[in-house]
Amino acid sequence: MLASTLEAARSQMAFTLGFHIILASLGVALPFMMLVANYRGLRRDDPDALRLAQRWSKAVAVTFAVGAVTGTVLSFEFGLLWPEFTGRFGPVFGLLFAIEGLFFFTEAIFIAIYIFGWKHLSPWTHFWSGVPVVVAGLGGAFSVVAVNSWMNQPQGFSPTTGEVTSVEPLKVIFNPAVPYEVPHMILAAYLVTGFLVASIYAVGMLRGRRDRIHRLGLLIPLTVACIATPIQFAVGDTAARAIAKDQPIKFAAMECVQTTSTDVTEYIYGRCTTDGVKGGIGIPGFDSFLVGWSTNTQVIGLDTVPPEDRPPFNTMLHWAFDTMVGICTILIGLGLWLGVGWWRKRDFPQSRWFLRAVAVSGVLSIVALECGWIVTEVGRQPWIVYNVMRTEDAVTQAGGVWVTFTAILALYVALGATLVLVLRAMSRRWRDADEKDVEVPYGPDAGPPADLAGASG
């Protein structure tokens, strides 16, 4: 009974978080793309850029609204699924959520002002009303990811068993995993949003719509994403090295290192077994080299802890890690392609192959995002708070989690499908509008506002 509640709770949490992480990434980075277009539109007097900004603001509105409710579900789940975790450590990590609340409030308010202010605010006032959205998005991302960092590197509370009686908030907020986990997630948000938005316009161009709106709509987000990708690679590399030190068992599981030794082989894919990696491509000594710049570096193996303290699904974890790194490498290649094209012709490559590559980059970046999330979450298991509280001790005693998981699964599938349909319908409507050439932002209203004085129902 309890084992099955634990499985259901973990599945529900994994699914709802995996869903929310996409919307949260869009919520953090899409307003930035929108403001870039808005700025360009105002500075260069470019109506196409303004039109893009206005359209993206509508996409921001819908994704933010859906992200707000999926985020609310997560905050319910802190109690519905993990009451003992929150009951014991809420006073420790909760402050970060209180701070996040400040940012979220600010974000919600200024998003409303920006989205609903196109008609009546002056252009530059309107632009500046969007800036707090971007800043609050970064602050909110910091706060939330810092909680996850704390779960990986818990500190700043005592005692470590039983009820927490003393908390040091600054040690909690600036825990050792923050410097690599927070930038890694924020860059991931910019990368995913950039490639995803660009991929939509690339698909449009492949279907023959090569107007200026499509070109700008591809170029702005793609440039942002291509700048973020190599930085992300470096941050991720630093993170992996830090994890090898801070959470050696997680690292051992990511790389399928069974026994502690030096000169450890780096395996790309392959099946993880207790006798070592079966299949896959092995590069002798390279894992040790990656951890300490020398093949003599010792890498701690899974055998240093008893089997019940090792992460489950080792092969999946290893594949998730390799897939994330692999996709990031491919996307760096895409960035180079763009960079070379731009350097040679002051334009992005016009070939269909380039557009096809951009078109798949959106999905690839989402896969990488989910893989990264699997690595950090599954890799921390069986702990919910690393080396302090086991996940099985945190779960609710309430029955029926399988039922709620099923309901949420169905609801979210419908929600996701509707979201995609609605965004597609929006873009169709915009295309029709393009043909008629209506709807210029900051322009005079198309018609007089409906004056209702004297109307009787």
């Binding site: 819908v62 933010f64 609204a65 859906v66 707000a68 409710v69 609310t72 579900v73 905050s75 319910f76 802190f78 109690g79 519905l80 009451p83 003992e84 009951g87 014991r88 450590f89 809420g90 006073p91 420790v92 909760g94 402050l95 959520f97 209180a98 996040e100 609340g101 400040l102 979220f104 919600a108 308010i109 998003i111 409303a112 002002i113 989205i115 609903f116 202010g117 008609k119 009546h120 009686t165 003393s166 908390v167 040091e168 908030p169 609710t396 005693q397 309430a398 029926g400 309901a407 609801l411 929600l415 509707t418 609605v422 506002p449 409906a450 209702l452 004297g454 109307a455 009787s456 129902g457």
Partner: protein
């Protein structure tokens, strides 16, 4: 008053804000459901969309605020409530998802059928969510939530007359607030027909809320003596104040006064919540868990007070700005209801 009490007051402020503004949003959803389909309900629904579009996201954040303050400041109360009341809280969460999705999509749905579906979902979820949240409050008031991980009864804790009454009261109060707000919004939109429309609905909702509140008092007398005794002693001035505010709203609506009705309507709801807070003190979970016993370590409480102080300086002005822009019709997306 110690730090734990101060944080409890902040929690109550959050509950009040959510009840007043989030509650009005739920109520507006209910009115949009009751307005009827097709042409008949079109104008009221347009007014509702126009009025809550820019503010509902910000109003919703108060719920998150309450949850976060509860689990940070009084984690053991959060644990007890969310594990024992797993069923109604899950249903409320599902309702919040449906409601948010319904509202987000019914603007953007292209076909009339899709739009009608989205707005029905929005309306139904606006009815169910506050109802289940109300049953949660009823369970707490009735002392049916023991400390610990799901140690209370999963069903009877919230499926009992007192909880059901309070659930219904939550729905009615939201509808009442919404109708009073929408009267002003109709005036802002220069739609006197809608002004009359919501004015008469505000009166009905006021009477229903009053009746349910009276029945709730009887329920408390039978089932939650601690709260009842508190409400009829230390909390009595606030209860009387609430009654006066409620009567004031009715008078102002009758006189078609231009201002004051919204303020008094919020006052009527806020004073009841504060009366309840006074009645329940020093308990978070009546007669089971006190504020001091549930309180987080000192540094956390200080942190919460600091964050709240910052919020007063940053968030309140921002909310004020948003509401002002809305009131001056400077932020709007959907058009005003046409005739």
């Amino acid at each position: 008053m110690n730090k734990a009490d101060a944080v409890a007051v902040i929690l109550l402020v959050g509950v009040t804000m959510y009840a007043a503004f989030g509650g009005a949003d739920f109520g507006a959803g209910l009115w949009s459901l009751l307005a009827g389909g097709g042409d008949r309900g079109r104008r009221p629904r347009e007014l509702i969309d126009w009025a809550i579009g820019p503010v509902w996201e910000a109003n919703h954040v108060w719920l998150i605020f309450v949850l976060v303050v509860l689990w940070t400041g009084f984690a053991s109360a959060f644990e007890a409530v969310f594990s024992t009341l797993f069923i109604p809280l899950t249903l409320a969460a599902l309702g919040i998802v449906l409601r948010g999705a319904g509202f987000a999509f019914h603007h953007s749905a292209r076909r009339a059928g899709g739009r009608a579906l989205a707005s029905t979902v929005f309306g139904l979820a606006s009815l169910l969510t506050p109802f289940f949240l109300g049953t949660v409050v009823g369970a707490i008031a009735g002392g049916r939530v023991p400390v610990g991980n799901a140690t209370g009864d999963a069903v009877t804790s919230w499926l009992n007359p007192l909880s059901l009454l309070i659930g219904a009261l939550f729905v009615a109060t939201g509808a009442y607030l919404a109708a009073v707000f929408l009267v002003s919004d109709a005036r802002r939109a220069h739609a006197p027909d809608l002004e009359r429309y919501f004015s008469s609905r505000a009166l009905v909702a006021a009477v229903v809320s009053g009746a349910l509140a009276t029945a709730g008092l009887v329920g408390l007398h039978r089932d939650a003596r601690y709260i009842f005794d508190g409400l009829t002693s230390d909390g009595l001035p606030l209860v009387i104040l609430s009654l006066l505010c409620g009567i004031g709203v009715l008078v102002l609506l009758r006189l078609r006064a231009r201002r004051g009705a919204r303020f008094l309507a919020v006052g009527a709801v806020a004073t009841v919540i504060w009366g309840w807070g006074v009645a329940q003190w020093p308990y978070l979970l009546p007669e089971r868990l006190t504020i001091d016993d549930a309180a987080a370590p000192s540094a956390t409480l200080t942190g919460l007070l600091i964050v709240f102080g910052v919020a007063v300086f940053i968030v309140l002005p921002a909310i004020g700005l948003l509401f002002t822009l809305v009131q001056r019709n400077l932020v709007e997306e959907t058009s005003r209801p046409s005739s």
